[in-house]
């Protein structure tokens, strides 16, 4: 079976999940003070862990491009104002996948589950830190406020991302390597 075909399809399908989570608002979890946590970056992490850094990059691009588009045509909160800038919405997202993949690859030998969890946390924090960092660099927000958001939003997002990454990838690999349902 061709690896390239698999990479293309997984990138497309995970990209679709990211868009779907955003468009259906299923990917937003209500959080403090009307702010929302997002899990739209989880497909990026899962795609990267399963199929490598380039797939992660492609899904990250789709996630970013969609959050730019959504920020402009169907904005719902203050963050959308900033996301219309691709240096905030797209550029940081490109790195989520490669970082998650690197971490997973480095730790996989030791313990697969731990590797998945840490990859989830690392991918998620990449998103938080780079997006907020861009907001600070472009002087959209004062750094003090950025630090607060990093902790209040970034940490719970990282936890949720790790949980979903572990649950999905562990189940999938067992399915893939164990007995796979032949007829759906």
């Amino acid at each position: 079976m061709s690896r390239t075909t698999r990479k293309i399809v997984i990138a497309g399908v995970m990209g679709a999940i990211s868009i779907f989570l955003g468009a259906s608002h299923l990917g937003f979890i209500p959080w403090l003070a009307g702010a929302a946590l997002t899990i739209m970056h989880v497909p990026v992490i899962i795609g990267a862990v399963l199929e490598g850094p380039w797939v992660g990059l492609a899904i990250g691009f789709i996630f970013g491009a969609f959050s730019l588009l959504q920020g402009a045509i169907a904005p719902t909160g203050p963050a959308d104002v900033w996301f219309t800038n691709p240096l905030v919405s797209i550029l940081p997202r490109l790195l989520i996948g490669p970082v998650a993949w690197l971490v997973y690859k480095a730790l996989k030998r030791a313990n697969e589950i731990v590797a998945l969890a840490v990859a989830g946390v690392a991918g998620s924090l990449t998103n938080t830190i780079l997006v907020l960092g861009a907001l600070g660099l472009f002087r959209f927000l004062p750094w003090a406020l950025i630090g607060t958001i990093a902790v209040t939003n970034g940490l719970p997002e990282a936890v949720v991302a790790a949980i979903i990454t572990v649950a999905v990838v562990a189940a999938w690999k067992r399915i893939e390597t164990g007995r796979k349902g032949s007829t759906v």
Partner: protein, 290 residues
């Protein structure tokens, strides 16, 4: 091989084992020998997990044998240089309608296969139009593919295979997820294709569908259990039951009737045949009176 009468599909000593991780191997096919000739309409029966899908996937090189060989029109499927020849000779239609449509527009999905083959633009358009009209989807050519009904999606999948000008169609439980109308229309389409010379191999759980074919092959635990004409196969009700398979309802009914009514035929397959037999039986006395 002597070359003159090379069958379209020739399988010798086919074994296949799924390598499920390092620790578990799942043997799925255990020594299959089989030939299928051009123009045949064959049904592949067998309980869930008996190896039907695995066998079909060997016929267009989606899987390669663990041991043994498969030849398609003389090409060994192991020979990577003939991969395209094998896959254009044998088109595949899968069970889940939605998961085999690549493009968002009907006609572009039909074009996906020939585009991959590098067919030039004007011929591409002809092939797409021909394939869509063959499965009677021409009016929907610009429709969004996800808006089709399940039956239309399966006909679209057939059109996608036809556009590559295959000599053989493999249907892997292609009717399983369709409603009765969708199923009937799909079988009509397949029937027409077969009349025009297409070889068809259809895995199915639907016995009425199997009754329409020329030959039935029954798999059990990765081995050939039975093989023969539908009438001969469906007369072995007890053997089939042991293999967890049904018999077409008209056949069962005919059996019951022939046990009670003298001279009523026992080996009927379709509702049509049953109706004819009943009409003959009821009609004869009246006819004799005249």
């Amino acid at each position: 091989m002597d070359g003159a009468e090379e069958p379209l599909i020739r399988i010798e000593g086919l074994h296949y084992t799924y390598q499920a991780g390092t620790h578990r191997a799942v043997p799925a096919l255990c020594g299959i020998d089989l030939t299928i000739h051009a123009g045949e309409y064959v049904a592949l029966l067998g309980a869930n997990g008996s190896g039907k899908s695995t066998l079909l996937r060997h016929l267009n090189a989606l899987l390669l044998p663990t041991a043994g060989n498969v030849w398609i029109a003389g090409w060994n499927t192991r020979d990577a240089t003939h991969l395209r020849n094998v896959r254009t000779t044998v088109g595949m239609v899968f069970q889940v309608p939605d998961s085999q449509i690549v493009a968002t527009v009907v006609e572009e999905d039909v074009a996906f296969g020939p585009e991959n083959l590098g067919i030039p633009e004007d011929e591409l358009r002809q092939r797409v139009d021909w394939a869509l009209s063959t499965v009677r989807l021409s009016e929907l050519q610009h429709r969004a593919s996800h808006l089709l009904s399940a039956g239309q999606k399966q006909r679209l999948a057939i059109a996608g295979a036809l556009a590559m000008h295959p000599r053989c169609l493999l249907l892997d439980e292609a009717t399983a997820m369709l409603d009765p109308v969708g199923r009937r229309q799909l079988l009509e389409t397949v029937g027409h294709l077969h009349q025009d010379g297409m070889t068809v191999v259809a895995a199915t759980h639907n016995m009425a569908e199997a009754a329409l074919t020329q030959r039935i092959i029954v798999l059990s635990e990765g081995q050939l259990a039975l093989q023969g004409e539908p009438r001969a196969i469906f007369s072995q009700i007890e053997t089939l039951r042991a293999l967890h398979l049904d018999v077409p309802h008209p056949t069962l009914l005919a059996r019951e009737l022939s046990a009670r009514v003298d001279g009523f035929p026992a080996d009927l397959l379709t509702i049509g045949e049953l109706a004819d037999a009943v009409a003959t039986y009821l009609g004869e006395p009246a006819g004799a009176a005249i």
